[in-house]
Symmetry: C2
Subunit: 330 residues, 2 copies
Amino acid sequence: MNILVDAMGGDNAPYAIVKGCVDAMNERDGFSVTFIGDEEQIREVLSKEKYDSGRVTIKHTTQIVMNEDVPTKAVREKKDSSMVVGFRMLKAGEGDVFVSAGSSGGLLVGATTIVKRLKNIDRPCLGSVLPTKNGRMILVDSGLNISCPPERYVNYARLGSAYMKALFGTEKPTVGLVNVGSEEEKGPDAIKEANALFKESSLNYIGYLEGKDVFECKADVIVTDGFTGNVMLKLIEGTAKFMFSEIKNVLYTNLKTKIGALFLKKDLYRFKDKMDPDLNGGAPILGVNGLVIKTHGSSNAKTVKHVIIKACDLASSSFLEDIRLNFEQL
Amino acid sequence: MNILVDAMGGDNAPYAIVKGCVDAMNERDGFSVTFIGDEEQIREVLSKEKYDSGRVTIKHTTQIVMNEDVPTKAVREKKDSSMVVGFRMLKAGEGDVFVSAGSSGGLLVGATTIVKRLKNIDRPCLGSVLPTKNGRMILVDSGLNISCPPERYVNYARLGSAYMKALFGTEKPTVGLVNVGSEEEKGPDAIKEANALFKESSLNYIGYLEGKDVFECKADVIVTDGFTGNVMLKLIEGTAKFMFSEIKNVLYTNLKTKIGALFLKKDLYRFKDKMDPDLNGGAPILGVNGLVIKTHGSSNAKTVKHVIIKACDLASSSFLEDIRLNFEQL
């Protein structure tokens, strides 16, 4: 298995990207990495790390798709960018999966125009896995597309359901649509129209979900537009981070709490890991003819390490084939 | 001071509403309550409670504005509903503040058509107070309006800033606009246009905020449309509830953690209260000529009690006058 890595995407590239990949290789066998980006900068990071050089290749590129770029224009014109070259290498079969922390817009355009959409897919979306009381749920679209006409919600739900089944074996995952209330007449027109389309669909649709229901395990797949989904994903991260920092303050309030902390630390840290976005980062672009994983722009080496391990797991599963089959039957 | 209470609004009315008000009266002096709703049902709840009957009056009404109603039609036609009568009594000066857990749509229409908007206000909005590391922040619009043209974000921010100043004395509160990234070119067109309008305004605007920045104390006033705001508010509630339930599980894992819990319980509960939506519920409708407080439809007696106490505090402050002055100067 070979993992294609956009070494130049994200706020902390290339350092965090290259370091994260090296850490993943040192923890997990059975895969190699092709770093795509500025060879000199990549070698500079590698020179300070210990790793099996037989597992690493570098594809030198001279350009970078930036967040400030107009995505369509950048993908068309920056032919020697790490992102565009990565997409082309994936398309050509030079790797099993492509991982990038680069611009969402660039990734959407590259995935759609180079890797190409699956049959019957209007727009790909991002599927993010979140913890729940009893297991895991999937949020789609967690931030790939801004606009969302009614029928697109249903497509997101199909992709999310296929992803849920591929990851966790869930047959007929339950699907909930994010809205501001549980009553039929609540919310924007597009949501109400989507609600009607869901009811006619073969999906296991359970109706509207409010923000407070997300963690109540009411639905396996939470569907929303990419704007709301991105805000939700990052708000969960932010709320969890805030709460852990406040709880840490509680633990260090006084001698009594410090003693209590000694007894609890290990178990609290285990729960903290469950909520840690660095350990749970990386979302596949669902709905394209190849395995593309986006990790957020601010990813650090720890995030990248875990994303690479997740990429290995997904690339060795039948995930992509499952989603494809699911959609060809439509 | 007299508090007008819609006794029939919300999922748990009239019981939770009446009980919550009685509990508030038993904790706090200096105000009376007028319950508006079905007299027999209200008396039924009151008959089981201990309270000073001299502080309670009942205004009998025969109708209820339901969540299923079309708000404009309901407010126009249900003239003897607890909500419409409440708005009319507030307008006529028969109370200092009107509290309701009824339909958001009904409250928006009633506030706009009966109590009337302040000069220069296009649409009122809901302002919700949230905890932060160092204090409090305000989220506007936390759920009154679904749609949001660019200039409305700026109006929400003015209202939120005036509310922040009135509640906490913050001069020139910082304002952040919710978006999916921090770069200028990110997000939907309406947000980008609002961003340009904010930069021309006299507000203390700091730019875009992502979901993860909300608790980082970057802005005193967090501005978003009512759909996103409602999802955010309830998602914070849901995330906090989920995390406390998981932490509770950690505390009861084994003998060791149970011992730790004994040392920490009191301090953890104090933090839990800070995040408890029941203790922090109730949001004023900002931008109208009167003090109207909405509490969420699922409010229980504990929520209502704290909302009534907050209503007393707001009614005895110069909050309404401050907001009015702020806007007349425009």
